[in-house]
């Protein structure tokens, strides 16, 4: 059993060599590695944010807002459809996730149902879905009422669509922050994770993603003031918006905007030529420009309102039709806020507000300290292990230490290959992997000693030691592996980083501490003078 075929030896040595080459770039700086000839591997292990410094933000979308927006859309659409179909309506009310539509004449109901069902959109896989829609349109409990109800599948699809477009928007906004590569990924249904290596100050980042930046232009009610509207009744289709400054100032605006931020072609920060205060210069795209031109032509002398995130920035009076499709927004801006708003407007609005639910930021100095501490502790711990092993097992102890070195190199190489990230808990996992590898050798050597004690010849004892111990090693490593895999599936953040290195460590330890060490011992046996092996240096 101790014997190795030539093929096996070549495979083992090649594996070690390949591992060494892949792990090599990790021991040099980025610049040194870049200057290496092209045939050398250059990929380096990615360091986690806790080691290299950076920001980790977990954002949550406001689902309620998405629901509310959708309900508003559904109401507008239903109203439009019924109007086109000339079906009289006495009222449309929203209750949670359903609309209750009261028809003027109950006998119109079948006709209205038919028309309203046109707003349904199929959800999921149309081929397999079996007729599932994003909303259900059914008769209400009372005569002449219709209920438009949002389905769970529909809501899920809405939210997932909103998350996707949020990620795009966040990506565009964050790209304005500068050089280093950030990753923005979806987590679960309604969360977005931003990881930004090397970012020192998160203030700017938080401000950029903290606003939805929904810009809209609205018609102001021609005669009614918001105070009067509150006393009497708010006309249908209108809504009261607060002013930007917070105190007092309210406006009665038509809820459906004339033009939206999506119709903006460009937005740039600038200064007003007369007052020199910071402003935003914007330009509409063709559609937006045409709509805005038509509106201003018909409403000269009346005010319109510029609304950002449901707050009125200003409500200027139209002096002459604005046909060029460009304009200027003023408000109580600072240079900083116009810069930010311009970025936000160019990147598009978020479908819903994002709230930070988790933040972890590590400054570069702490990251560097952690690496230095980890290295120092690793070296001292390593020396301790080497001393103990050599002391306890002599020559074979030296082989075990060589196996440990191979183990560490292969673990590093595998981690580099699969592109995993080394975190602080990951270093701890690496250490436990070393302990497992040492344990494998301890098991083997204790077994060899036992076999020697019962009187076996050296070669037979070594052989039996490896064979018998292997069952135990496999069992103990596999149970730990089961534990590590569970950690990986269930774990969050630090637990996962730990599980990854531990898993890789367990896999390489069987090769390094069993196979490589066995090969070394086989070489050693062969190097001894024939028939002269009387004692085993273990």
């Amino acid at each position: 059993m101790l014997h190795f075929t030539r093929l096996k030896i070549v495979v083992i040595l090649l594996t070690c060599l390949a591992g060494f080459l892949v792990a090599l770039p990790n021991f040099f700086s980025k610049e040194t590695v870049a200057s290496w000839p092209s045939f050398m591997p250059k990929q380096q292990l990615r360091l986690g944010l806790d080691l290299q410094g950076g920001a980790h933000l977990l954002l949550e979308m406001d689902q309620e807002e998405i629901k509310k927006d959708w309900m508003n859309n559904l109401r507008d659409e239903s109203r439009k459809i019924l109007r086109t179909a000339k079906i009289g309506v006495t009222g449309i009310g929203a209750q949670g996730t359903q609309l209750v539509i009261k028809l003027a004449k109950p006998e119109d109901r079948d006709e209205a149902l038919k028309e309203l069902r046109k707003i349904r959109q199929p959800v999921g896989n149309v081929m397999l879905g079996g007729g599932s829609y994003d909303v259900d349109v059914n008769e209400g409990p009372d005569a002449g009422t219709i209920i438009v109800k949002v389905t769970d599948a529909g809501l899920k699809q809405r939210i997932s669509g909103a998350a996707a477009s949020s990620i795009e928007t966040v990506n565009r906004r964050v790209n304005n922050l500068g050089t280093s590569e950030s990753t923005i990924v979806r987590q679960g249904t309604d969360r977005i994770l931003i990881q930004f290596p090397g970012l020192k100050d998160t203030k700017e980042l938080k401000q950029l993603i903290g606003e939805t930046a929904k810009l809209t232009f609205h018609e102001v009610h021609p005669s009614l003031s918001p105070e009067d509207a509150k006393l009497t009744a708010i006309p249908p289709g209108y809504k009261i918006y607060p002013g930007d400054k917070g105190e007092g100032g309210e406006y009665l605006l038509r809820e459906t905007p004339i033009v939206q931020g999506a119709d903006l072609a460009d937005a740039q920060p600038g200064f007003d030529s007369r007052t020199n205060e910071p402003v935003i210069n914007f330009r509409f795209n063709q559609v937006g420009a045409r709509r805005f031109a038509n509106f201003t032509k018909d409403n000269v002398g009346r005010p319109f309102a510029i609304v950002l995130d449901d707050k009125v920035l200003s409500a200027p009076v139209i002096r002459e039709p604005i046909l060029g499709g460009s304009g200027q927004i003023s408000g109580s801006f600072t240079v900083e806020s116009t810069n930010r708003l311009a970025v936000q407007l160019r990147s598009g609005s978020l479908p819903a507000k994002l709230t930070i639910v988790e933040e972890r930021t590590v400054g570069p100095s702490l990251g560097a300290d952690s690496i230095a501490d980890g290295e120092r502790a690793g070296i001292i711990g390593g020396i301790a292990v080497i001393c103990l092993t050599v002391l306890a097992y002599g020559t074979f102890g030296i082989f075990a230490c060589l196996g440990l070195v191979v183990h560490l190199i292969l673990t590093l190489a595998l981690m580099t290959l699969i592109g995993s990230t080394l975190t602080l808990p990951g270093i701890a996992g690496l250490v436990l992997g070393v302990a497992m590898a040492v344990d494998a050798n301890v098991l083997i050597y204790e077994r060899i000693r036992e076999e020697l004690r019962v009187g076996k010849t050296p070669v037979a004892a070594i052989d039996a030691g490896f064979q018998r111990a292997f069952v135990t090693i496999a069992d103990s490593q596999l149970t730990t592996l089961a534990c590590a895999l569970i950690m990986f599936w269930l774990g969050a953040g630090p637990i996962r980083g730990f599980a990854v290195t531990l898993t890789i460590g367990i896999m390489t330890s069987i090769f390094a501490s069993v196979t490589v060490v066995r090969l070394l011992i086989w070489y050693w046996l062969k190097a001894q003078p024939k028939g002269r092996i009387t004692t085993v240096p273990v």
Binding site: E60, V385, L388, T395, L424, A428, I486, M487
Partner: protein, 324 residues
């Protein structure tokens, strides 16, 4: 050849191999004491509770470094207490220039957490640089708490399933009691001394599970082997023999692991000190439980005695028959 250069010398076999410590004689005492320790730990966790860190409790943790000289903790405390952020904990952390600030979770959902952080940042940025910020909102903290406990429970289950599959149910019962003991007693010590319990502690507990079961499996493996070898030996005697035979390995591996962990604890930096402490504790408790709980329990449950190949085949055949 190269191999000639390597010095040939024997290691020090420090362990008296004919030693037969009577572990099984005191099995009642050991298991009784362990059960009492588990009960006390459980009671501690219930009454005193665990000192949850930011991960599980929500709130903020901010590590600051003074821009010049040592940090004046008293002045900082006075300043931050004036901000109206509830209970603010400030401690020196590592070198005297560094402080760690803990804010409790602010009432009112997710947004107040960020507002509180901003207040502290604005108040301290003139004199301190931020080394680390962790803000965990109420939604995430309750999820992490859930994940942590589920991970530990699932870890135990996975291990037990594997042990059951590889050995017999009696071994699996021994393992599950030993593992539960390890987790409970470690948690109990964390509760007693009110050490901070966070995600990294959970990672440590999972690692302890791995280490402890590793020990248990090594002993179990030897028990199984001896069951094949000594068909007529008294079970208690056989268990005792197995524990003693693997004792040298148990101690050597334990000492190596502890040496590495101590080096990590002392030199590994402030951030993972808590993790390393839990690990150190766990290695000791885990080693104890394999010797004094998992194996002795087999003495109570009894175990299948005929492990010969024919019997194994018979069982396997019966199993396939039952399946069919």
């Amino acid at each position: 050849m190269l191999m000639r250069l390597i010095p040939v010398f024997k290691g020090i076999d420090f362990f008296p191999h004919d030693l037969r410590l009577p572990f099984m004689r005191y099995k009642g005492l050991a298991i009784g004491a362990s059960l009492i320790a588990m009960a006390i730990s459980l009671a501690l966790c219930m009454t005193m509770g665990l000192n949850y860190g930011v991960d599980f409790k929500g709130g903020s943790l901010i590590e600051l470094q003074s821009k010049s000289g040592d940090a004046d903790v008293a002045a900082l405390r006075e300043q931050l207490n004036g901000l109206g952020l509830g209970n603010v904990q400030i401690q020196q952390f590592g070198p005297p220039s560094n402080v760690l600030i803990r804010l409790e979770e602010q009432p009112g959902g997710e947004k107040p957490q960020q507002a509180a952080l901003k207040k502290v940042s604005d108040a301290t940025q003139a004199r301190f640089t931020q080394r680390r910020v962790e803000v965990v909102g109420p939604a995430v903290s309750s999820e992490l708490r859930m994940t942590g406990f589920v991970a530990i429970a699932a870890g135990i289950l996975a291990i037990v399933a594997y042990v059951w599959f590889r050995f017999e149910w009696q071994f699996a019962v021994g393992a599950v009691v030993a593992l539960t003991h390890d987790v409970l007693v470690t948690a109990g010590i964390f509760s007693l001394f009110q050490f901070e319990f966070d995600l990294s502690t959970v990672a440590a507990l999972l690692t302890i599970l791995g280490y402890s079961v590793n020990d248990t499996v090594v002993v179990s493996d030897r028990i199984r082997e001896n069951l094949r070898k000594f068909k007529k030996m008294d079970l208690n005697e056989l268990l005792n023999l197995s524990i003693n035979e693997t004792l040298s390995r148990t101690i050597l591996t334990g000492v190596t692991a502890i040496a590495v962990l101590i080096s990590l604890y002392i030199f590994g930096g402030e951030v993972i000190r808590n993790f390393n402490f839990a690990m150190l504790l766990g290695v000791v408790i885990g080693t104890y439980s394999s010797i004094f709980i998992a194996a002795p329990l087999l003495g109570y449950f009894g175990v299948k005695r005929d492990w010969s190949d024919a019997a194994a085949k018979g069982v396997a055949a019966a199993k396939t028959k039952a399946k069919a």
